[in-house]
């Protein structure tokens, strides 16, 4: 077991280092601006006095490395400073939104993961039949469509034409859980459509890959019935690829969420990021980017750790 713990620790360490490097990139890319944030904020019409005052207020008179360390130590405690547009605390602005986004992503994942894995396995078992081909075309189409295309189609048919679901996923205080699910159904469904297609294809590919291994043929030649071949021989080895598929797609979901939130005017962190980018509100942009990147890395890390934990070679060392 020592080996596994070592490997997992190593992987976690590596993830942490990557996150650190990314924080450096995110922070210092803003430093690339000619002049500094202050002049970017105030624009060309700024007087030197105003500039100097703003610089002092933002601590820009200190060297970059000091400010980076301050920013980073703040970020670790979820304190990302103040917005330069509204002057409010970034954490307060995006904190609740982040929770909303997580809810939406979880909602979509809760539907997409089981559905796509089951469908993926079925399609893998039916490979090279007409159903497999139809599924191939359908999933390819779904993957190729931009999220806003799927989103607007759903709005048109399920909201505007039939009125089954609200077109705008606004949230308010004190909604009960089912109303919440109902209101956020369309954005969740959009995400589900895209992610399910991806996940199905990847699940199919990894199952087919697995089924062509010699030990599966051996199991068949031992007279093992088909269901047992799948359950006893394929599944124990399929965990690693499936975990990988799920984690990768959840990471993908994180990006997809930005566009979907805009389409459905959903109060999530994605919209906050887009607003901040167009207003050039750098502290908010930095915070959002760091949060997205951290989630992304965390999910990839989970996939790696999952793969390590389910690998029989590592679980039972020589």
């Amino acid at each position: 077991m020592g080996d596994i713990l070592g490997l997992v620790a190593k992987r976690l360490g590596l993830g942490l280092i990557i996150l650190l490097i990314i924080s450096v990139i995110i922070f210092f890319m803003v430093e690339l601006l000619p002049g500094d944030i202050a002049s970017a904020v105030l624009g060309q019409g700024a007087t030197p006095e105003n500039l100097a005052a703003l610089r002092k207020e933002m601590g820009l008179d200190q060297p970059a490395i000091v400010r980076y360390l301050q920013w980073l130590s703040g970020a670790v405690m979820f304190d990302f400073g103040n917005s330069i547009v509204t002057g409010e605390s970034v954490t307060e602005t995006i904190g609740e939104r982040f929770a909303n986004t997580l809810f939406l992503a979880t909602y979509a994942a809760a539907i997409a993961v089981p559905v796509s894995i089951v469908l993926g396995v079925i399609v893998a078992l039916l490979r090279n039949t007409i159903f497999d081909r139809v599924a191939n075309v359908a999933t390819l189409t779904s993957i190729s469509s931009p999220e806003f295309f799927l989103g607007y189609i759903l709005i048109l048919y399920l909201a505007v034409n039939t009125g089954m679901f609200p077109a705008i996923a606004s949230l308010r205080e004190g909604m009960d859980f089912f109303e919440l699910l109902h209101r956020t159904f369309l954005p969740a469904l959009t995400l589900v459509l895209v992610v399910t297609a991806h996940m199905m294809r990847m699940t199919r590919a990894s199952i087919i890959n697995l089924l062509s291994s010699p030990y599966i043929e051996m199991a068949r030649l031992k007279g093992t019935p088909p269901w047992k071949v799948i359950v006893k021989h394929a599944l124990p080895n399929a965990w690693a690829p499936i975990i990988n598929v799920v984690a990768l797609n959840l990471a993908y979901l994180i990006t997809g969420v930005v566009l979907v939130e805009v389409v459905f005017v959903y109060p999530g962190i994605g919209q906050a990021l887009v607003d901040a980018v167009s207003k050039r509100d750098f502290p908010v942009v930095q915070a959002c980017c760091l949060i997205f990147a951290a989630t992304f890395i965390l999910l990839n890390l989970a996939a790696d750790v999952g793969a390590i934990l389910t690998n029989p070679r590592l679980r039972h060392p020589k």
């Binding site: 030990y215 030649l221 031992k222 007279g223 124990p236 029989p312 020589k318």
Partner: protein, 564 residues
């Protein structure tokens, strides 16, 4: 050898098709096969002859992308081609079992050996779990696996290749089937390990009077195992006869050619006595791959101009690493390589064009040695242009000359691409590429082991002729002692990265040997069907294979004497 003579398996007009390029192509074109109870039949043929496909078909099983058409496969009175899937399944594992080529890939990595072993008996409710496990241990013991009580509770990756292959044979025996299909069970193993597996398989098949189909490309192996031999060529049967009859008196030309291969023998050359320095001299070389253990340990030997030195040993003995040190791909951590008495820069990137030219290489796999997207004219022409600066008509003449030299018609091959050629032709192109540099020394890395025997012989004859004409020195890396006998002048035996013995060929093939050389020499199967029996009688079952190499006494005078 008295065996009951009722028919167990009867195959008539077996046709199997494979799907490629959008159409169904015949792979097996009407093969008949009759196997009696307790009989062992050897299926032998070159790669692509369709041996394994027939093996799978004996279980009524068609691999993905293949199908069985218009055939009858009758197992113990039951027609398999029309039987339902569940009926066929009921036979597999219980009455017909299968032993695959790669045991390491064919055991499920997620389960313990014994759980995979007992799967079939439990499935067919032949035994209770405890009984099945005890039976497994008994079988492990019969197959001479170490720690039979405990080994089953390990996972496949915790057990060595030769042991896994025996564990798989035990698994096939778990339901005491009537028939076992052995699909090249020892091909992936070293010769010294192979012998253990062979003797174990033979004993257990004899003991339970199981019928078997033994698929291999190695004549000498099949001669030990089979009662009858069936020779296949490109999906068709060539001939079938009892083993001794087949060995003594083959009928068909193709079979005769297979048997006759070992005839070629080049006269042995001797070192010059006038004191000229050796062409290549490897001096006390140690080498290791980055961060790894020492792969070569104090290796020294000389290669004289115009002579062939064969380097033999099992996989992992350091033969190929030695070649990499000489060519400069792997600079040694200690020691040096001398060329005509002058030190060769250890890294090939530091060598001059002329030094690089002197030392060429011919590879084992002609498929990966030739760029599939480059014309033959450029493959051979590039070294000529690169080293000698030939251009235009002079270059074309040189390429034609080289093609002539390797006995290929220039006009016909000039503009073709490697994938259009056969294995032997590709290997000849590889030789021509080496010759184009006008070298004095060529490393031949297992150049014949991927080729069919007849083709291999042609290559050996060609190399020998070229050596006489161009006064080339060869370093011949091989694990095949028959090749050594036919072409070598001197032999270097390597084990665990050390040279255990070296000397002129005639001395090496006459005792007394270093114990490892002895083990290696004695482990190579011979065409004589009694070879294995005699060997086991002489040495005893515990004195072959890994067990024997573990027993080599490091203080044996021959051992200490040889490394000096």
């Amino acid at each position: 050898m008295t065996k009951k003579k009722d028919v167990l398996l009867k195959i008539r007009d077996l046709k199997i098709q494979g799907y490629s390029d959008e159409t169904w192509v015949d792979i097996i074109k009407g093969v008949d096969l009759t196997l009696h109870r307790g009989e062992v039949m050897g299926l032998i043929g070159e790669s692509g002859a369709g041996k394994s496909t027939i093996g799978a078909a004996c279980m009524g099983y068609a691999r993905d992308g293949t199908r069985i058409v218009d055939s009858t496969i009758e197992f113990d009175g039951m027609e398999l081609t029309t039987a339902s899937e569940s009926d066929k399944r009921a036979l597999r594992g219980s009455r017909i079992a299968y032993v695959a080529q790669s045991a390491a890939a064919s055991f499920n990595p997620a389960h313990k050996l014994i759980d995979q072993h007992t799967e079939a008996p439990l499935q067919y409710r032949l035994k209770k779990r405890m009984e099945a496990q005890e039976d497994a241990m008994e079988l492990y013991e019969k197959l001479r696996l170490p720690n039979p009580q405990e080994i089953g509770f390990r996972y496949p990756h915790q057990v060595s290749g030769g042991q896994l292959q025996r564990a798989m044979t035990a698994m096939a025996m778990s339901c005491r089937p009537d028939l076992i299909i052995f699909d090249e069970p020892t091909t992936a193993l070293d010769v010294t390990t192979q012998i253990e597996v062979l003797s174990a398989i033979r004993d257990i098949v004899d003991e339970f009077n199981t019928a078997a189909i033994y698929i291999t490309h190695d004549l000498a192996v099949v001669a030990q195992m089979a009662d009858t031999i069936k020779v296949l060529l490109k999906g068709e049967e060539v001939e079938e006869a009892p083993t001794r009859e087949m060995l003594e008196n083959p009928q068909e030309d193709y079979t005769k050619s297979l048997w006759a291969v070992r005839g070629f023998k080049s006269p042995q050359r001797h070192r010059p006595t006038d004191g000229t320095p050796p062409l290549i001299s490897v001096r006390n070389v140690d080498a290791s791959y980055t961060g790894g253990e020492k792969v070569l340990d104090d290796v020294s030997f000389d290669i004289y101009e115009g002579m062939t030195v064969a380097v033999v040993g099992e996989s992992g003995s350091g033969k190929s690493t030695t070649a990499r040190v000489i060519t400069g791909l792997l600079p040694p951590s200690k020691g040096e390589v001398l060329f005509k008495g002058e030190p060769f820069p250890p890294d090939y990137r530091k060598r001059t064009k002329d030094q690089l030219r002197q030392c060429q290489m011919i590879y084992q796999m002609a498929d990966t040695a030739l760029n599939p997207k480059v014309r033959i004219s450029e493959i051979i022409g590039r070294p000529a242009a690169f080293y000698s600066g030939l251009k235009g008509a002079a270059l074309k003449n040189r390429v034609d000359e080289l093609l002539d030299l390797i006995e290929l018609e220039p006009a016909q091959y000039y503009n073709r691409y490697p994938p259009e050629l056969s294995g032997g032709q590709k290997q000849r192109i590889g030789i021509a590429r080496a010759l184009a540099a006008e070298p004095t020394f060529i490393v031949c890395d297992e150049v014949t082991s991927a080729l069919d025997q007849l083709v291999a012989e042609g290559i050996l004859r060609l190399l020998d002729r070229l050596q006489n004409e161009l006064n080339l020195a060869y370093m011949f890396i091989t694990h095949d002692l028959a090749t050594v006998r036919s072409i070598a002048d001197e032999v270097v035996v390597m084990q665990h990265g050390k040279v255990v013995e070296q000397g002129p060929k005639d001395e090496m093939f006459t005792p007394p040997h270093h114990p490892y050389t002895d083990l290696l020499l004695s482990s190579v199967p011979e065409m004589d069907p009694d070879w294995l029996t005699t060997l086991l009688e002489e040495r005893g079952v515990d004195n072959v294979g890994d067990a024997a190499s573990a027993k080599i006494d490091p203080n044996d005078p021959k051992v200490t004497g040889a490394s000096a």
